[in-house]
């Protein structure tokens, strides 16, 4: 029995031990929640929710689209910011510092409100989906910029020296020496960041972007079935974030090599 629930360092975990331990955890969690829900005086009304299944699905798809778009745009922003932070032109470097520190130091909620009601309004962008993607991208871009920068800085000076010695230009050094290594390092945290973007996109509901969370809130408003509206929401997000984080771990193993 002991062998089914314990793991010795340096040994692979046996399949049986894995299955038994996971079952145990699932059982415990299920028991805890069944108990909690059984204590609840609540009239479940899943029928009402079922009628709105289309709305859940549309919201969920919108969340996928917004998150994917934000991932791409945030990568571009993150890359440019990381390069700007290493620029020899000081105003550009400090602009990047200001951007990264402001974004990382303030709540996303506030950023969404200011960007939508103040900035977007002033420059005349009315499409809230566009503003939503831009805001999320700016938010995630600041974190990505720091990941990319630390990736670039992790490349030893000796390699940059070798690159110069063999006659690579600065841009060739980035292209053939720095970026291939940074990308490998970056893939695991990047997938983690993608999971964050998916969850963070739920905040766009406050500017009425019709994504997963807002749609669930609306269903709740129509049906007064709060738990039935929000439980599918949790499951829907897990369906997205769980594969992403499992993939992140798999990639981490794949790209792991000694330097």
């Amino acid at each position: 029995m002991k062998r089914l629930v314990t793991h010795t360092d340096g040994q692979p975990v046996a399949v049986a031990a894995r299955v038994v331990s996971w079952l145990l955890v699932a059982l415990l969690t299920a028991a805890l929640f069944s108990f909690a829900f059984s204590q609840l005086q609540y009239g479940w009304n899943w029928d009402a929710i079922w009628q709105y299944r289309q709305k859940f699905l549309q919201g969920w798809l919108m969340t996928v689209i917004i998150s994917a778009a934000a991932l791409v745009v945030s990568l571009v922003i993150g890359l440019l910011t990381a390069l700007a932070r290493r620029s020899s032109f000081l105003p550009l470097r400090y602009l990047a510092v200001l951007y990264v520190e402001t974004i990382r130091g303030t709540p996303l909620l506030v950023q969404i409100l200011i960007l939508f009601y103040v900035v977007a309004n002033a420059i005349g962008i009315e499409n809230r989906y566009v503003v939503g993607v831009i805001t999320l991208s700016l938010f995630a871009g600041a974190y990505l910029a720091e990941m990319i920068r630390s990736g670039i800085e992790s490349i030893r000076d000796s390699q940059l020296e070798s690159a110069r010695a063999i006659g690579l230009t600065r841009s060739q050094t980035y292209r053939y020496v720095i970026f291939p290594q940074v990308v490998r390092q970056l893939i695991p945290p990047l997938t983690g960041q993608f999971a964050s973007i998916i969850k963070d996109s739920s905040l766009l509901s406050i500017i009425a972007v019709s994504e997963f969370t807002l749609n669930a809130q609306e269903v709740n408003a129509f049906t007064y079935s709060t738990l039935e509206s929000y439980l599918p929401l949790a499951v829907g997000y897990l369906l997205l974030t769980l594969p992403v984080s499992l993939m992140s771990r798999a990639l981490e193993r794949k790209f792991h090599y000694a330097t």
Binding site: S162, G167, Q181, A258
Partner: protein, 243 residues
């Protein structure tokens, strides 16, 4: 080859790495630069390599003055092979790819030509079995040999070695020094900064002793090691040859 230094000076912060080095080294095939750590020998090599720019003076290689604008230095670096102490190779590329990279991206070889050229060199220097390994899978000595292959693959005008064995154990040191001696035997021009006096004496025909930012003594290796004049050099040799 010939070298000529004229009033070369270089400073790092407070430290004067080279002070007013003026010297003409007549025709040589291999030059060893020796001296205590921090004495300025690596700085001199790096200036010759086009990796560092002197603040004062100039140098001529084979009678041609080395310009110090970045464009000229890049062109200069592309014609010579430089090997450092360690970590010369890019860790994300295999040994062969490390050699192929400059051939294709800097010297205009096609991918195919570059692979053939690199493959032939690997075979010739008993590295064929390691061609498809990443640097981390090679011993320190093998890494240095691959780095040297990368340096000679481009058919450089001459080779520069900056303490190429100082990060290696004695056995690997011998492996790498044998390789360099072999290249010398092929008639390649080379300049080596080394702590290995036996090797400097054996392989170089000319030698510079640099300490405190100045060339304290220069001459034929056979004379310089047999009859050192400068008291600093006498002292230095006595110290490093004691064990």
């Amino acid at each position: 080859m010939r070298l000529e230094f004229c009033g070369l000076g270089k400073q790092f912060g407070e430290q004067q790495a080279l002070r007013d080095v003026t010297l003409t080294i007549p025709e040589f095939q291999s030059l060893a630069i020796i001296g205590p750590s921090g004495g300025g020998k690596t700085t001199l090599l790096r200036i010759i390599a086009g990796l560092e720019i002197q603040e004062k003076g100039y140098l001529c290689i084979n009678g041609q003055r080395l310009e110090v604008d970045e464009e000229a230095l890049l062109a200069h670096r592309r014609t010579i092979g430089t090997v450092f102490q360690a970590y010369n190779l890019f860790p994300h590329l295999t040994a062969l790819e490390n050699v192929v990279l400059p051939l294709v991206k800097v010297h205009g070889f096609s991918e195919r030509e570059a692979r053939d050229t690199a493959g032939a060199l690997f075979a010739r220097f008993q590295l064929a079995g390691h061609a498809h390994r990443r640097p981390a899978e090679l011993s320190g000595g093998q890494q240095q040999r691959v780095a040297i292959v990368r340096a000679i693959a481009i058919k450089p005008r001459f080779l520069l070695f900056d303490e190429p064995t100082s990060a290696l154990d004695p056995e690997m040191t011998a492996e790498v020094l044998d390789f360099i001696a072999e290249l010398r035997g092929e008639g390649r021009d080379l300049i080596i900064v080394t702590h290995n006096m036996g090797f400097a004496r054996e392989v170089s025909d000319h030698c510079l002793f640099i300490a405190a930012g100045e060339v304290q003594e220069a001459g034929q290796s056979s004379d310089l090691f047999r009859k050192p004049h400068n008291p600093l050099l006498v002292n230095f040799l006595a110290k490093v040859l004691r064990y």
